[in-house]
Every structure is written in structure tokens, then in C-alpha cells.
């Protein structure tokens, strides 16, 4: 995929470009200085001096404007200008030759390797033709020695190929390092997930079993405490499931509505109610998003279990005060009498509290069904107990 490679390369160059750019600008300024010095030894030509100022100005532009730096049009203009200077100086053994060499550096490091190789071939050919048809004697090369010619033609090829290869190698090293880091992170995530699942979660299940077995065996003064402890343990196990799911395929990175759409698809059964998810969620802190996800999942499960609905609709809408998530079904609505073991609702309530959200569970006005509303405040506070 040349495009992505191109992007990586570009990012690599843009990423930590300071020392590299300093070198390029220094070379350019030096080349310009040498050119000026050499010109001063000869009779002064004002046009040449103006051209020479280009070296300094272009160096500043390159150093300060990343967009110009990355534009192929700028490279072409730059190289053409340096060649024009060589041409104007009337001799291919011109002091502007070094300035021209520095114009090859940017394309050499930014072009994909294959194109850079073509540039390494094209540059000496271009210079050779300039020497042939430019000066000092159009139609003939007239080198002082054959070494001058060889150096003038080899240097651009070596420079471009060398820079391009060095950049390519650097890029490969960087890609490899990123890949290793990613793999290490994934392995670590898997290890943590496994430990959570293998040890902590099993203990939670055991504790939940023990506490829930007290139900109906304790005096009335303790019923509420046992019930609450049972709910908390159940929620903790579910929290752990959320964390496990996040470690596996993090909700973080996937927006809440996308995660909910996926959940809805999982829950739909043949002959069961349809589940639609409408609206989008802004980026939320990971734990807030995880709790919100969990609340909506619980609401969906409740609706599927108890409502006898044919359609369930999840809506996400931004309100002036934050985000409102609604889960509405067209089922039979809430029972008249309060169900003593509506642990699902208790768990949802406790979750909502922990992220500073407001939860309302009510029958729908004027139409059949139940509606669960979660109001997440904008800039929802960090969940209680979260230290990170």
C-alpha cells in the first residue's frame, strides 16, 4: 500500500525532524555562503546576487513551513531554481552545484524508496544534460579532469540513494519497534484478562453465591444488607466482564453507539423484538463509556426478559447538559406493584450513581412499554474510586 507507506514516511520525517532539518538548513546556508564567496571573487553581477539570496530565503521557508516542505511542487520549484542558478552562472562546475545537491535531500527522504531510486538515476542524467547544453561550451562537456565530471554526476546519485535508503531503514526499524510494542501490549492485556478471569472473577462468583445463599435465612433487619451485598457482588462480576471485554476489544477507541449497535446485534433473536440504535455518542472517558454501556446492556436484557415487547429502541441524543441515552420498549410496562427483587434496576442505579448520571425507569406516558433514561452530564465526573 504505497499510500500508507508514504504516510508513515512522511510522519517519520515530520515526527522528530529537528536535528535533521537543522542539518539540511545548515548545508543549504553553507552552500549559499560558498556560492556568494566565490562570486565575490569575480566581477559582481547583481542578478547573481539576487539568485544567491534564494538559498537563504528557501532555507528559512523549509525550516518554518512543514506544508511547503512536504509538497512535491515545492521540491520541483526548488530544484529548478537551483538549476537555473547553475545555468545562469554559465558553468556546470558552478558553486551553485552544492545548493542544487541540497534540493535533492527533501524528495530523497520523503519519496517512497522505489521513486527515490528513480530520482537517484534521474538526477545525474539531468545534470549531465545541463552540462551538455548549458555552459561553459554548449554542445561539449569540457571537464577540467574526468574526476570532476565523475564527482559531479556520482554525488547526486549517492546522496539521493543513501538518504533514501537510510530513511527506509529507519522507517522499517520504527515500524518493527511499533509492532513489537503493540504485541507486547496485547500480550500484557491477555495476561491481565486471564488473571482477572481465572482468579478474581471466580472468587467473586463464590462470594456472590455465599451471600445470595443467605437470602431468606436472615432476620428482617439484615434482608436489605444481604440483598444489597448480593447486588454489589453481581455488579462487580459484571464490571469485570466489561473490563475483560475491554481488554479483549476495548470499548475505548470504539464509540459507545458502535459498541451498543454490536451488543444489539448479539441480543437479537429469531422471533424476538427488533432492537434499533439511533444517534451517536461523543467521546467519553473510558470508564464512563463502559458503565453507560453496561447500564444500556442491562436495560436491554431486562426489556428482552420481562417486557414481552416487539420493538426496543435505543436513542442517544446530545442535550444542553450532556448526553441522554434512552431505552424504550413497546411491551407491557412496569408492573403495578414494586418487584422486591428488581436487582437489575438496583444495579443500574448504582452504576449510574458511580458515574454521576441520572437514571429514570418509568412506564411510557400514553403508550405501552417501559422507558429507561440515562442522563450523562457533560464532562461526566470520573467514576468514584478511579484514581487514574
Amino acid at each position: 500500500m504505497p499510500h500508507t507507506r508514504w504516510e508513515t514516511r512522511r510522519r517519520l520525517i515530520e515526527g522528530d525532524a529537528t536535528p535533521w532539518l537543522a542539518l539540511l538548513v545548515a548545508a543549504r546556508v553553507m552552500a549559499t555562503g560558498v556560492a556568494i564567496g566565490l562570486i565575490l571573487l569575480e566581477p559582481i553581477d547583481s542578478a547573481l546576487l539576487v539568485l544567491t539570496a534564494y538559498g537563504a530565503i528557501s532555507a528559512i521557508v523549509i525550516a518554518t513551513m512543514p506544508r511547503v516542505r512536504a509538497s512535491p511542487l515545492a521540491w520541483v520549484l526548488d530544484t529548478a531554481f537551483a538549476l537555473a542558478c547553475v545555468l545562469a552562472s554559465g558553468d556546470w562546475r558552478s558553486p551553485f552545484y552544492v545548493l542544487w545537491l541540497t534540493t535533492l535531500a527533501l524528495p530523497a527522504v520523503m519519496l517512497p524508496l522505489r521513486q527515490a531510486v528513480w530520482l537517484a538515476i534521474a538526477a545525474p542524467v539531468l545534470y549531465l544534460s545541463l552540462g551538455l547544453f548549458g555552459g561553459p561550451a554548449p554542445g561539449a562537456l569540457r571537464p577540467i579532469t574526468s574526476e570532476t565530471l565523475v564527482i559531479h554526476l556520482l554525488l547526486p546519485a549517492v546522496l539521493v540513494a543513501g538518504l533514501a535508503y537510510a530513511t527506509y531503514a529507519l522507517q522499517r526499524v520504527q515500524e518493527e519497534r511499533m509492532r513489537r510494542e503493540r504485541l507486547a501490549i496485547e500480550a500484557e492485556r491477555r495476561r491481565i484478562a486471564w488473571e482477572l478471569h481465572d482468579s478474581a472473577k471466580q472468587r467473586l462468583h463464590a462470594a456472590h453465591l455465599l451471600v445470595s445463599s443467605l437470602h431468606g435465612r436472615v432476620g428482617p433487619e439484615l434482608v436489605a444488607a444481604v440483598e444489597r451485598a448480593s447486588v454489589e457482588l453481581e455488579s462487580a462480576a459484571a464490571d469485570m466482564d466489561t473490563s475483560l471485554a475491554e481488554l479483549r476489544s476495548p470499548l475505548e477507541g470504539r464509540p459507545l453507539h458502535a459498541a451498543l449497535e454490536a451488543r444489539a446485534r448479539e441480543l437479537v433473536t429469531d422471533g424476538g423484538p427488533t432492537i434499533t440504535v439511533r444517534g451517536e455518542a461523543p467521546t467519553l472517558p473510558p470508564l464512563v463509556a463502559a458503565h453507560a454501556y453496561r447500564i444500556v446492556s442491562e436495560a436491554l436484557t431486562n426489556a428482552l426478559r420481562h417486557a414481552e415487547a416487539t420493538a426496543i429502541e435505543v436513542t442517544l441524543e446530545r442535550t444542553p447538559s450532556g448526553l441522554r441515552i434512552g431505552v424504550a420498549d413497546n411491551g407491557r410496562g412496569l408492573p403495578e406493584t414494586h418487584r422486591p427483587h428488581a436487582t437489575g434496576i438496583l444495579a443500574m442505579q448504582s452504576r449510574a450513581e458511580s458515574i454521576g448520571a441520572r437514571l429514570v425507569v418509568a412506564s411510557r406516558d400514553g403508550q405501552p412499554g417501559t422507558r429507561v433514561l440515562v442522563d450523562l452530564p457533560a464532562g461526566a465526573p470520573r467514576p468514584q474510586g478511579a484514581t487514574a
Binding site: H197, S199, H205, A206, S213, A238, R248, D270, G272
Partner: protein
């Protein structure tokens, strides 16, 4: 009186189960195993439980394959009921659980009274395997080869190993091997991806 053996590799969970089962009238905890071959069979022979609570994710192998072997090696009337106890009782589990001959699948997140209810129902002869949607069944079956799919169809429709073997012109032992292999294929990964 329902005599229950627990096969689970987590000591904390085994201890918890022992405590709650012993405290529940009508249920007796007769023994436990971490799921390794060396302890499972002696336990089952010694205690002859009415019902086994069997962990789905065993470290040395697959709970459903073990279930299949238990059902084959301890034939009716001695065969205990097997309740698969899973941390992730997803709908996908229903199909392989039925294939393995399990009598029910329950989630480890259930409260004690719900677990007891499941135990009593299964002991009475009911099957708690859930009813996976067509979509789930289809996507599970797609993971199998054509030949295996035919076998799964026969076995799920109540054909015994011998009948299935005859219909597919296989040896009965081949049917058993194929079933174990299919269970391996259908084994859903623990969400952590470590198996």
C-alpha cells in the same frame, strides 16, 4: 436428596459451592475434583453422584468433552445428570452442550437460589439448554465440515451413536471420536483469547 459432585479448577469456587450446597436442605455435596483425569474418575466411581456441576473452562481440556465421556462411560441408569457451569453461558454454548449430552447450562453469575432451582429442575429430568436462535445455530454449524454437520443433525435429533453410525456408515467408535472432535471445533474461546 440430590447428591452433587463439583468439577471445577477454582478452589475458591469449589469451597463456596460446598458451603452453599451443604447449607441447602435436600442437596448434599459428595465430593469435588479440579477436573484432571486422575481425580475425576475415582471421584465419580466412589461417590456415584446424582448430578455433576461441571466447569466449562477446565485447564486440562474441555468441560464438554469431559461431559461427553462421562455420559458415555457411565451409561444410563447410573449416568449422573450434568449441569455445565460456565462463566460465560452464551447462546453459542447451547448447541455444543446438547451435543455433549449435558442436561443444562447455567451461568456462574447466578444467585444461590437460582442455581438450586436449576439443580432441582435438571435432577427432575428437565433440560436447561436454552433455545439458541436460528442465527446462532447456523453460524455455529458453518464452522463445521459437511459430514460433521450431518452427524450433528442426527445426534441433536435424538439419534444414538449406533443409529448415527448406521445412517452415516461409520463405526460407533468413529462417531464418538467425531463428536469429541466437533466439540473441540465448537469450543468457544474464553473471551481473553487464551483458551
Amino acid at each position: 436428596m440430590i447428591r452433587i459432585a463439583v468439577i471445577d479448577d477454582h478452589p475458591a469456587l469449589r469451597a463456596g459451592l460446598r458451603t452453599v450446597i451443604d447449607a441447602e436442605p435436600g442437596l448434599v455435596f459428595v465430593g469435588e475434583s479440579a477436573g484432571d483425569e486422575e481425580s475425576v474418575w475415582p471421584l465419580l466411581r466412589r461417590t456415584e453422584p446424582d448430578l455433576i456441576l461441571l466447569d466449562y473452562h477446565l485447564p486440562h481440556g474441555d468441560g464438554l468433552q469431559l461431559c461427553h465421556r462421562i455420559k458415555r462411560q457411565l451409561p444410563v441408569p447410573k449416568a449422573p445428570k450434568v449441569l455445565v457451569y460456565s462463566a460465560y453461558a452464551s447462546p453459542e454454548l447451547s448447541l455444543p452442550a446438547a451435543l455433549a449430552g449435558a442436561d443444562g447450562v447455567v451461568d456462574k453469575g447466578l444467585a444461590a437460589r437460582e442455581l438450586f432451582e436449576a439443580i432441582r429442575l435438571v435432577h427432575r429430568g428437565e433440560r436447561l439448554l436454552g433455545d439458541p436462535s436460528q442465527t446462532v445455530v447456523r453460524s455455529e454449524l458453518e464452522r463445521l465440515e459437511d459430514r460433521d454437520r450431518a452427524l450433528v443433525g442426527l445426534l441433536l435429533n435424538g439419534a444414538g451413536d449406533a443409529e448415527a453410525a448406521e445412517a452415516l456408515q461409520m463405526e460407533p467408535s468413529e462417531v464418538q471420536h467425531a463428536t469429541l472432535r466437533i466439540l473441540g471445533t465448537l469450543r468457544s474461546q474464553v473471551p481473553t483469547g487464551t483458551g
